[in-house]
Symmetry: C2
Subunit: 361 residues, 2 copies
């Protein structure tokens, strides 16, 4: 069996990505998904002001400058582990105050060998008492371990009034594909004993959005029951670099910044040499016929704007009920950066209403 | 009574816009709708390749270069009349072939003093026999007179299988606000004799999208029946320059190009000195409670991406059924530029399905 850590240095895609990250000067890292023959559009340098068409909290999030060190990524598995742990420790510090404010309780648990957290709001409205949401956290398939991955699940529980089971799936550098997906599937199978599938939905953003789509593809393949609805937010639905907003929103999105940056290096660690066009890695290439009703969120400055709307169109072409919400001025996942922003409450309440329409009771 | 032609030179907004158009070097013309205190985002110059994630026809539309003369606009009412007439004559030349291909017949008519065209498809499916759509054309409130304004209506009739009545409303420089809206309302009132309101929808893009929203606000004010559904495409919902994509998609959108360019000069001629925040001019500021189900279309490169998604959010906040569709790589109104593009058929069929769900028979 390959040791995934030593395997990493043999992955050409990763080497290319690291080269791009080190050497990049202009945000045109993507060689995928662009027409090679037609002339491109020259856009001059400019300064984009912060829009006043969003809340003061969101203005602050939008104004956050891009780190001058965004091209620097850890260079070894150990450096990755240290970097992920530092970020996780910082994220965890903010969670107790949010749980208090949203009146959400957290319980760690292990289900069929997979770690998870149950987020339970103080008040569960009657229609949600027999419902359960499964949450798949983001973090580019490498970040957000343990409690640090529960922020979005906490907001969903608090604003939506649902019990939310957040999967603490295994991640690279120690556990590349398909460990994360396997763990999500294990939890999905175990959850069938907690609630009927028709009363359950799956929610997740970024890598968690990609995994939410991939888990439905996998459940279809394995003839498992499907959730009654899903809410993939700004999904990493195409790891190949295709999608026009990888170009148009490069260096405008202050979270993902540019294709080939840290997030894609992490995604390549997860893919571990597997063809990035595999629908279980890049679900935009999957067959979405028979998918459950889907609510998608993205923002006008999101590097994954295109890959969210491409999923939306694929779902609609397959005849699936699919609602798209695009948030003014927001970069990647803006709506779950600050639970005090009205945009956070509004978005999770919108998701909750969608689930209420499509879930059994 | 003021002569609208001589009134024009007294309009400060127009003077400011013309100054901006002549002097502009960077696409930051908007003084509206941005935070004055928070730091903006510096984005370097770059060349955006044409995405391969769209059809070959759409790639060609996206690759169309921005005219080097885009800052030049007509300088007098006579120059405007000549410019509009030239563009209209060119547009009309392409229409017979499209009508043939889509099997749509055109009939000019005058209804209660307002000029209009009825577009009738060769085959009207049974569920659409007692339905009628009203179409309000685009052209920044100044362009698209006569038959030249019927292109979108022809696609809606042909791809959707509906009878479509396209309003040839009066326009500046001879007829500023509220002439266009008055003409739309006259047709709406007259249409009540052709079909019940519950069997009718209103469709229009760009200025026509703004007018579609304004006509619902006006019908609410005047206690008239409302249409059963509306389809404002990339609506000019905010003439003040607010909306983040006026900044982010400036010089990326090859149709509208930048706030303060030709389209906004035309809009200022229409506004004729009236406060641009008036909801009948900028319907994003209107009260959307009680609006009919609404389907919105825009594109990831659309200068009006923000002002489409802001309308979507306002509708949802008001509890209105509102579906948003954002099209990969498309600038302003990409889906109605070429009826042979699969994106055109797909979009009009999506609108038709939405109408089928919400219109009486």
């Amino acid at each position: 069996m390959n040791n995934p850590v030593t395997t990493l240095i043999r992955v050409p895609a990763l080497a290319v990505l690291i080269a791009l990250v080190i050497g990049i000067t202009a945000p045109t890292a993507s060689a995928q998904g662009t027409s090679g023959t037609l002339p491109g559009r020259d856009v001059p340098a400019r300064t984009l002001p912060v829009p006043a068409t969003v809340s003061p909290q969101m203005q602050k999030i939008i104004a956050t400058p891009i780190s001058p060190n965004w091209r620097t990524v850890p260079q070894s598995p150990d450096e990755w582990r240290a970097s992920v742990a530092t970020a996780a420790a910082a994220a965890v510090k903010n969670l107790p105050a949010m749980r208090d404010a949203l009146k959400v309780k957290i319980e760690p648990m292990t289900i069929d060998g997979v770690k998870a957290f149950m987020l339970t709001p103080a008040v569960i409205p009657p229609q949600n008492r027999n419902r359960l949401l499964i949450h798949v956290h983001g973090g580019c398939f490498v970040s957000g371990p343990g409690e640090s991955g529960t922020s979005e699940a906490t907001m969903m529980a608090g604003f939506g009034g649902f019990k939310v089971l957040s999967v603490d799936y295994r991640m690279p550098p120690d556990h590349p594909f398909p460990a994360a997906l396997d763990d999500v599937m294990t939890i999905w199978k175990a959850a069938q004993k907690m609630a009927p599938a028709k009363n359950m939905a799956v929610i997740g953003s970024s890598a968690g959005g990609g995994l939410t789509l991939s888990m439905v593809l996998k459940a279809k393949m394995d003839k498992l029951p499907l959730p009654a609805a899903i809410a993939p937010g700004t999904p990493m639905s195409d790891l190949t670099g295709a999608g026009d907003s990888f170009q148009t929103n490069a260096l405008i999105d202050n979270v993902l910044i540019s294709y080939g940056a840290s997030c894609d290096v992490r995604a390549a660690m997860y893919a571990n040499g597997r063809d990035l066009k595999d629908p279980l890695l890049s679900p935009v290439y999957g067959d979405m016929a028979g998918f459950p009703p889907t609510i998608l969120n993205t923002g006008t400055r999101d590097l994954l704007l295109s890959n969210t709307v491409r999923v939306h169109r694929n779902l609609r072409r397959a005849g699936v009920i699919a609602d798209l919400h695009v948030h003014e001025g927001q970069a990647h996942g803006g709506w779950y950066r600050d639970y005090t922003a009205p945009e956070a409450k509004e978005t999770f309440e919108e998701i909750a209403r969608f689930f209420d329409r499509h879930l059994g009771k």
